[in-house]
């Protein structure tokens, strides 16, 4: 049976309402007053973009909310979306000293939302481009978080920036691929408009390599930034994969962002393949849109899954089922539609996962969502930019300090260089690349601005977490394993 929408608009809207609602002004002020205003604070060091978090919280506490937003957005132009989608538990809030003192960190993400909402709702433009321009032109390929982070920083450094994206709207995954209960696409579109007001030109619906040739960009622009992210879901390589109800999880999430909620089709019995954070986003949204049973299928065990613990807990509380140590063998079709998923038990030996012979069975499902990782775009990149060096794992090779690729005027950042990380990492890499480009355009004689939140701290003048981030979850993992 083809899949259908299962719930009406009101039910869907309620089910997909923000799981972290905004703070009232009074809540924000009280929460801000809890902040100790640490110096050289761990939260800053844990933020990949190095936002001076205690400074912006102090500004909320004294009712300078516009100033708070400026502190945030100067460090992270996508501060509004990061306030909603950052895994704060393993970044700033995971580093908060109040975890030791009161067991409850300051709600940094929600305070950040409070400040950025304040200026967005009032149309206050807190970032400005200098009146004197450098006369240099930069092409940014990809309007996702990395491209936007790069474009905004370049504009603030006085360069003329044009952003190309094949999608009809900018924002990348922030507009099309975040769980709807975490962030509405309007937030991301607002950010794109804010960057437009910095003078950045957006050419959406334009695909580089098809509508515009890379050679033309190399001729017409002084530098190019590649922020094209990752491709579609990896192939499963099993029979039945091409049935119409076998869908990329990210495509399913995009439907939610581009169609009326009451028109989003979903299966009654849904299987989600994979166990990363995208799998969690898919399974929770399928359930919230009316799926009767939704199961995450993962070939390894719970301890191996890449989803954060709090995402796992969210899926459990939404009623998701988890089938560990099971692998899909075949998507079973009936009259041209998905009717079931043939699975086999797996076992791990020496890190290798194999199916157990004779253990197969069929789960009745009518929708299969693939969240088994996204393809690298190595082939595409090398077609557009012959000579661009790609590493063995399909990532664009780059200098980690300047984000410069093997091609002298081409820089890169975001998932196409990292292989897939958080939005905030992409923004930080875009910003870092912008400083690399700035240096390149100025004849390699100047460096970009240094974030001064560690002013006066002994040690190398490294600036904030932007230059030397700590990673709380990696630190904890190391502690647990050690």
């Amino acid at each position: 049976m083809p899949i259908q929408p299962l719930v009406d608009a009101a039910t869907a809207t309620a089910a997909l309402a923000d799981i972290k609602p905004p703070l009232s002004p009074q809540e924000a002020r009280v929460e801000a007053a809890r902040c100790l205003y640490c110096f050289d604070a761990p939260c800053i060091m844990a933020c990949p973009t190095g936002i001076d978090i205690p400074a912006f919280i102090k500004k909320i506490a004294v009712d300078n909310v516009t100033g708070a937003a400026r502190t945030i957005l100067e460090a992270n132009v996508l501060g509004a979306s990061c306030a909603r989608v950052c895994p704060t538990q393993v970044l700033c809030e995971g580093a908060c000293v109040m975890l030791d003192l009161e067991k409850e960190p300051i709600q940094i993400g929600r305070l950040q939302r409070h400040a950025t909402d304040h200026v967005a709702a009032r149309g206050i433009q807190v970032l400005h481009a200098p009146a004197v321009k450098s006369g240099k032109r930069v092409a940014v390929i990809g309007a996702g978080p990395a491209g936007l982070g790069c474009a905004a920083e370049l504009a603030r450094l006085g360069h003329a920036v044009t952003v190309f994206d094949r999608k009809p709207a900018g924002g990348g995954l922030n507009t099309y691929g975040i769980a709807y209960y975490k962030m509405k696409p309007e937030v991301s579109l607002d950010e794109v408009r804010m960057i437009e007001r910095l003078g950045v030109e957006f050419r959406t619906g334009v695909e580089v390599g098809r509508d515009v040739q890379a050679a033309d960009l190399e001729r017409d622009y002084d530098a190019i930034f590649l922020g094209i992210g990752l491709g579609g879901a990896n192939r499963l390589g099993i029979p039945g994969e091409d049935l119409p109800e076998v869908i990329d999880a990210l495509d399913f999430i995009e439907w939610i962002h581009t169609r009326p909620l009451a028109d989003v089709p979903v299966g009654r019995r849904v299987a989600v393949l994979g166990c990363g954070n995208t799998a969690i986003d898919a399974v929770t949204q399928a359930l919230r849109l009316g799926a009767e049973r939704a199961t995450i299928v993962y070939r390894r065990g719970r301890e191996d899954m890449s989803a954060y613990d709090f995402e796992y807990e969210l899926a459990k509380s939404d009623g998701a089922h988890f089938l560990f140590h099971a692998a899909p063998v075949e998507v079973v079709g009936e009259s041209g539609h998905v009717a079931g998923l043939r699975l086999a038990r797996t076992e791990s030996r020496d890190g290798r996962v194999t199916s157990v012979p004779g253990s197969e069975w069929v789960e009745p499902v009518d929708l299969v969502l693939k969240a088994v990782g996204q393809e690298k775009q190595a082939a595409l990149l090398q077609r557009i930019f012959p000579g661009l060096a790609i590493d063995s794992r399909g990532r664009v090779e780059h200098d980690p300090q300047t984000m410069r690729t093997s091609l002298p005027k081409v820089f890169a950042g975001g998932d196409c260089t990292s292989g897939g990380r958080e939005v905030v990492n992409a923004v930080a890499e875009g910003k870092k690349a912008a400083r690399g480009i700035h240096r390149h355009l100025a004849g390699d004689t100047v460096s970009g601005p240094v974030q001064a939140s560690r002013l006066g701290v002994a040690g190398p003048p490294s600036g904030s977490g932007f230059d030397r981030p700590i990673r709380v979850h990696e630190l904890e993992a190391a502690l647990h394993k050690g």
């Binding site: 009232s24 002004p25 009074q26 400074a55 500004k59 004294v62 009712d63 300078n64 006066g456």
Partner: protein, 436 residues
Amino acid sequence: MADLTSDFAGIKSPNPFWVASGPPSNTAHQAHRAFEAGWGGVVWKTIGDPIVNVASRYSALNLGPVRMAGFNNIELISDRSPETNFREIAEVKKRWPHHAVIASLMVDTRDHWHEFVRRSADAGADGIELNFGCPHGMCERGMGSAVGQNPEVAEIIVGWVMEAATIPVIVKLTPNITNVVHAARAARKAGANAISLINTINSITNVNLDTLVPEPFVAGRSSHGGYCGPAVKPIALNMVHSCAADPQVNLPISGIGGIGTWRDAAEFVALGASTLQVCTAIMHYGFRIVEDMADGLSAYLDSKGMRSLADLRGRAVDHVGDWKTLDLNYKRVARIDHEKCIGCNLCYIACEDGAHQCIDLVDSTPYGLGPGRVPGKPVPLVRESDCVGCNLCSIVCPVDGCITMTPVDSGKPPMTWEQYQGRLAAGTMHPLPAHP
């Protein structure tokens, strides 16, 4: 962006935010850090004949989770030699020629004052502040607040200073006095160029109930110290206003006392201050706080369409006057928003036991329920005919915007106490009836 540059009695600084004389302005190292962080001026820790300090020196009033709501110290003036201090002032001025460095001084004899005034100017200081306010230790030796508390003595000493001064002189006033205006007038009479206030207030912050010795503890004893920090702001605002409103004072005012945020700063400026001096907030959080003070003040001025500090300065001065100038016929009453009420009944009990008995607890049916309310639980309701408009309920209410003090028409034209007394004397009016 509003213009924050400041010209205070001829002392120029890029903004009105000065580090007050105290522990944060003790060394060139600190002055460099302050200017790097964005401060416009530094008033050096008071220079005089070197003294000897004790351990410990500070204590604080903590209110619930708020630390350092009030702060107290028994530290004396600089314990470094005048040579070191003046040399460092010269170094700092060399590196920061456009920032203000003010030498705070405290000595005893006329010759001594002459010498220190000259050395300050020779070091390149932009101005001098006379410490007539330190209320502990130094006053026992006839200096500090011992001078500030006696306008005649203060006038004589300011006169000595003016004999030798070639740079602007600011007199720092003590609040440990019945009426600060007399001291301010004495400064004016003797030719001072400006005043700054307030210095710290005599205090004992707390007593350790095990040792029965207050902090700061010094070998089984303590001493009264100087109180400052957020808790003293209301006292400072009043004294700044008194000086700003007095036509005989008529001097630029540097406001001091509990300033830690841009709001505090704006309030001092509105009541007549031209520059703002900060110490305790820096001792709590460091020099970095100036960034928000400048940003927030500038944003406030912009939001009000004011182009510089001059547009705000003194704008509240004429809004404050003697009680006898207030309108007796103005009426405002408390109104409770029952949608916002959370049912704590603090307004009820405050009014019932602490004020004027005009809130009733009534059947909630017509008013609906606030969040978390128990169905049927009575809601507080103001009897507006009895409400005297005192503000108490709105002050104790923990919910923003729940109780609003609303002006109501009394049906009578404005009448001050002065006018009332005049009309009674002229026989044009009967006495108002006493409150029942």
